[in-house]
Homo-oligomer: 385 residues x 2
């Protein structure tokens, strides 16, 4: 490969990306749009939650002292103050009598037949969180429960890590290639929390690539194609010319010609091979990781890792980290699918997931227990309950 | 509770929702926006993929026959036809010589030093998929690999199940309640693939609720609040008056006053309690399930289910299905957090996940192995690699 003839290991490539990237800056985000965003700072309760004593059940608010001595043979008449669960206690009351423990009458009073103590059926001020209590820590990806809690805390906006802005440059070869990886990359970037600010095609010449990279806006650039060893594969040389090439060439299949570096302005650049399966996997393992890291998300693959047993031998070349698409049998064991070399992206879509076979191994024999990354969704018509 | 005094079991409630709902209709969706959408019909290859023989590696396209007899001591001169991996083979060629197995010269020819056979380094027409081959089955939720494969198949749009349109009606009580569950519900609906077409507040009277429900647009309505036993809790009565109330009251904590039914026009309606934790859990277990089912998604909870061992006793009331928030210790065992009754939504946000304790159980002793639903995301600063 031009630019750097010595491929590095998969682990070294991942370490290089991890060492180079930190989350981008924060921005204020309205709470209603903050689900799935990553908090940039600790969020603490500005005031106790709830801010006042409130009813924990539907019933009647009373001053507990006034119910002293009440019983089935000694009902005590008190003012009727109906409260719904969640409502702030009216002034002068300190307990709630549940609906079925009192008899309202038409004169606007209730007959209390059981004494209550102060605080009975009351959610006291600060019960959910005291003033200053940590509600969600910096780095938390906000889920719907956080949104509800922060709404209760009165937060109108939160400081979230900005969504990384991603530019995709497609390097078009002289002989046209029918693959169109643009829609796949756009969907992948959005899945990982990035925003595609531009998706442009340009000639696969060193000068046009260098010019586009030197002027690249955004938080990261993905260059698609032009990473191989052919006469018009200039992506790595162009990056090296206008910035730094951290690596080019990884002992990874698919994705062997992936690369990574930085422009002179410090914008990180991931070089993605143009062949669809290689594009997908170098995206997943390098570009996606970079974008998740820039966005403050968990950088790991967004798939469920599970220990599974191998039913039929998984084959791999020594010295090369290999992605092996697998099927999941009814007994929970895995078996290989035809490889990406044979059926390209279709392997990814037929598979239930994949195994990453480390470079030192020739594969895994039947009975081996390995980590599989599983695509979570099952068909609607086969839905788990 | 008004409307239906006999609570049903959690399992019966889920079965009632499942039996009532089918996916909504399909719509055409541009491929670039189809990631995460659910296919409404099988998608098959209209033509072979690839549609022509193409280079599997970077190199030089040749007619294999012309290389017969080539060797280090007998280089054969052939026309220089450089091809990038993925490019369609030029007319008259049937093999690719890899870059390092031939010497290009300045006269536009290559010296071939090793014979090749027809098809060498070629990805033949139809290798990825034959004409008519199934690319993705109806019910598949499209992931990025599908988008790439469908782009290669030339699909510009796909038939996807429409995103369910959700109306949220907040029933406001006479004594105001400070909770605002609107942002949480909106985020939850969007997470589950729905679109919030309206989020309106209205007085918690039977007449206003009945009028709003009778005129409800969309694919489903969520009524928030007014589900309890108080004097102004009219949600269930209003629904029964203008349609059918399938159930109201479930042996579930939190979420005991949830309900479900249909308007006279057949629009499904989920009744959600107003207290935040009860709102969250009746959303997750009933409304979210309904929306996921309408949208053709996997109706199961969108959390990762894992078998885990109990470290400290989980306590629950017999006769009531209970959601128990749990922490995950470093050894992978779980222990309970303060319950929702004590700290409301904060329990959901402090927890690593939750266990659903079935009604017949009093809980689980230490050592028991149970299914926990785990929130997947970890903090960015503690990211798994």
């Amino acid at each position: 490969m031009r630019g750097n003839p010595a491929p590095i290991s998969f682990d070294e490539a991942v370490a290089s990306i991890d060492a180079a990237l930190r989350p981008v800056r924060a921005e204020p985000v309205p709470l209603g749009e903050a689900s799935g965003r990553v908090l940039a700072e600790n969020l603490c309760a500005a005031a106790p939650i709830p801010s006042a004593n409130r009813a924990a059940v539907d019933g009647f608010a009373v001053r507990a002292e006034a119910s002293l001595g009440a019983g089935p043979y000694n009902p005590i008449d008190l003012p009727l103050l109906a409260v719904a669960a969640g409502a702030v206690l009216p002034a002068g009351t300190d307990a709630v009598i549940a609906l079925d423990a009192a008899e309202p009458d038409r004169s606007g009073r209730i007959g209390v037949v059981e004494a209550v103590a102060p605080g009975d059926n009351v959610e006291p001020r600060g019960a959910v969180a005291a003033e200053g209590a940590l509600l969600a820590a910096a780095g938390t990806r906000l889920a719907i429960g956080h949104i509800g809690l922060l709404a209760a805390a009165g937060a109108a906006t939160v400081a979230a890590i900005r969504r990384p802005r991603v530019q995709i440059l497609c390097a078009e070869p002289a002989l046209p290639i029918p693959d169109d990886n643009g829609p796949m990359l756009r969907a992948a970037v959005e899945r990982d929390g990035g925003i595609v600010v531009a998706l442009a095609s340009l000639p696969r010449s060193q000068s046009s690539l260098a010019a586009a990279l030197a002027a690249a806006p955004g938080d990261i650039v993905l260059v698609l194609g032009g990473t191989g060893r052919g006469a018009d594969d200039h992506a790595a040389v162009a990056l090296a010319a206008i910035g730094d090439l951290a690596f080019h060439g990884v002992a990874l299949h698919p994705g062997q010609t992936a690369g990574f570096g930085r422009t002179g302005n410090g914008v990180p650049v991931v070089l993605l091979p143009g062949m669809p399966a290689a594009c997908l996997w170098s995206y997943e393992l390098f570009a996606g990781r970079a974008i998740r890291r820039l966005g403050g998300r968990n950088p790991a693959l967004p798939y469920r890792a599970r220990e599974v047993t191998v039913a039929r031998k998984l084959v791999s070349a020594i010295g090369m980290t290999e992605i092996c698409p697998v099927l999941l049998a009814a007994d929970g064991k895995i078996e290989p699918l035809p490889s990406f070399a044979e059926i390209g992206l279709r392997a990814a879509t037929l598979a239930a997931g994949f195994v990453i076979i480390p470079a030192p191994r020739e594969g895994y024999p039947p009975g081996a227990v390995v980590t599989a990354y599983l695509y979570d969704e099952v068909r609607a018509n086969g839905g788990r309950s």
